[in-house]
C-alpha cells in the first residue's frame, strides 16, 4: 500500500514551493501561518502546508495538504480509517472557492481506494468530494465539513459452463457520507489543535453511531 509514499510525495514537494517568491492572491491580510485555519479550511495559502493527525471514535487518520503554484490548487493526501477496519487512502486536490476575512469555503476532490476488513469486508477504487466551510480568521476557527465518499465495488463471477469459462462482472457504487463539525484553536505559530463531532453514515440507510475526534495540526511557513 502506498499512503505513506503519497504523503511523502506531498511533503517532499514543500521546500521547493517554499523557496518560490511570495505570491499572495489571498485577499486576506498576510500574517503568521494559520495551520488550523488552513487544515480546517481544506487548503493552504501558496507556499504553506498543513498536516493533521486525527484520533477518536470511530475515525483515525492523517491528512496533508500543500499549496501548489497552479491555479490556487492544493495537493492533498489522506489516509483515514474507521476503527482500523474501514480504511480509505486518497489523494487529490483542493481549492478555496470563497476566501474572505469572514469565511473560507473550499472544495476537494480525492481519489484512491478503500479496504474494509472483517465480516463486512469490501474493497475498491474510491472517490471523495468534500465541502468545507470555516471562519476566515482568528485564533479560534469553527468549521463544518461535508464529505461524500463513494466506492466502486466490482464483483467477479467465474462461471464454468459447457461452452467454457464465462466471466461476469457486476458493479455497484456504495455511498458513505460524513459530516463533521470542528473547532480549531491555534496554540502557537505552526501548531494547533481541534476537536470535533462526526456524523458518519456507513452503509445507508442503516443507522450509524455519531463520533468525536481530536486533531493535532502542524504546518506553516510562507
Amino acid at each position: 500500500m502506498s499512503p505513506l509514499s503519497l504523503l511523502l510525495a506531498f511533503v517532499l514537494a514543500t521546500p521547493a514551493l517554499a523557496e518560490r517568491p511570495p505570491q499572495n492572491p489571498d485577499p486576506r491580510p498576510m500574517g503568521p501561518p494559520d495551520p488550523h485555519l488552513d487544515a480546517l479550511a481544506g487548503a493552504s495559502d501558496l507556499g504553506d502546508w498543513a498536516v493533521s493527525l486525527e484520533a477518536g471514535f470511530p475515525f483515525f487518520g492523517v491528512r496533508g495538504q500543500v499549496a501548489t503554484p497552479w491555479a490556487g490548487l492544493n495537493a492533498v493526501g489522506s489516509v483515514n480509517s474507521a476503527l482500523f477496519a474501514d480504511t480509505w487512502a486518497l489523494g487529490g486536490v483542493s481549492m478555496r472557492w470563497v476566501d474572505t476575512h469572514r469565511v473560507v469555503l473550499s472544495g476537494e476532490l480525492l481519489v484512491g481506494g478503500t479496504v474494509r476488513t472483517g465480516d463486512l469486508s469490501r474493497r475498491g477504487p474510491a472517490a471523495q468530494t468534500t465541502l468545507r466551510l470555516a471562519r476566515g480568521h482568528g485564533r479560534v476557527v469553527p468549521a463544518l465539513t461535508l464529505s461524500s465518499r463513494q466506492v466502486l465495488l466490482t464483483d467477479v463471477q467465474v462461471n464454468q459452463t459447457a461452452e467454457g469459462e464465462l466471466i461476469e462482472r457486476s458493479r455497484a457504487v456504495a455511498w458513505s457520507p460524513v459530516a463533521s463539525f470542528d473547532v480549531g484553536v491555534g496554540v502557537c505559530p505552526g501548531f494547533a489543535v481541534s476537536a470535533g463531532l462526526d456524523v458518519p453514515w456507513f452503509d445507508p440507510p442503516g443507522f450509524s453511531l455519531p463520533g468525536a475526534h481530536l486533531n493535532l495540526i502542524v504546518g506553516g511557513w510562507k
Partner: protein, 146 residues
C-alpha cells in the same frame, strides 16, 4: 519521476481492486425419479451441497436451489451452483400426493421422499437417480453419512 506519475503509481494497487471473486458452475442434471407404481403427483425438493463448512462447522446437506418435477420419470434441470467452500451435489425430493404443497402435514403419513447424490460433480453434466420410497422423512433423516 514526476509527481503525477508518483501519485498514479501510489494509487495503482488500489485502483485495480476487485471486491469479490466467486466461482460457479452451470450444471445440467438429468434426474430419474422412481416411485411405487400408481403413485403420482408433483415432486418438490432441493439441491444440496453434499458438504459445506470447515472444522466444527462442517456439515452435510446444505440446500441452495429448489427442485420441482411434474412427477416420476426423467427430467433435466439446469442451474448455477457455487463452488467455493462446498463439495458435492445431492438431491432431496418428495412427492405431493394430496396437492397441499406441504410434505406430510400433520395427519398425513404417506408422501414419499428420497435422497441421492448427483455424479459426476463438479461437472457441467451430471446424473442422478432418486427413489421416492421413504414416507415423511426429511433429507436429514435419509442422510447415511455420504
Amino acid at each position: 519521476m514526476s509527481r503525477p506519475m508518483l501519485l498514479m503509481l501510489s494509487l495503482s494497487p488500489l485502483l485495480g481492486c476487485v471486491n469479490s471473486r466467486t466461482q460457479w458452475i452451470e450444471v445440467t442434471v438429468t434426474t430419474t425419479l422412481l416411485a411405487e407404481e400408481g403413485l403420482s403427483g408433483p415432486v418438490y425438493g432441493e439441491w444440496n451441497h453434499t458438504w459445506s463448512g470447515e472444522g466444527e462447522l462442517r456439515v452435510p446437506l446444505l440446500p441452495f436451489e429448489d427442485f420441482t418435477a411434474e412427477g416420476p420419470g426423467v427430467s433435466t434441470s439446469t442451474f448455477r451452483a457455487p463452488l467455493d467452500g462446498v463439495e458435492g451435489l445431492t438431491l432431496y425430493a418428495w412427492m405431493d400426493l394430496d396437492g397441499d404443497g406441504l410434505h406430510c402435514a400433520p395427519g398425513v403419513t404417506d408422501e414419499p421422499a428420497g435422497l441421492a447424490e448427483a455424479l459426476p460433480y463438479p461437472a457441467t453434466e451430471a446424473e442422478v437417480t432418486l427413489t421416492l420410497d421413504a414416507p415423511c422423512l426429511g433429507a436429514e433423516a435419509l442422510w447415511d453419512g455420504g
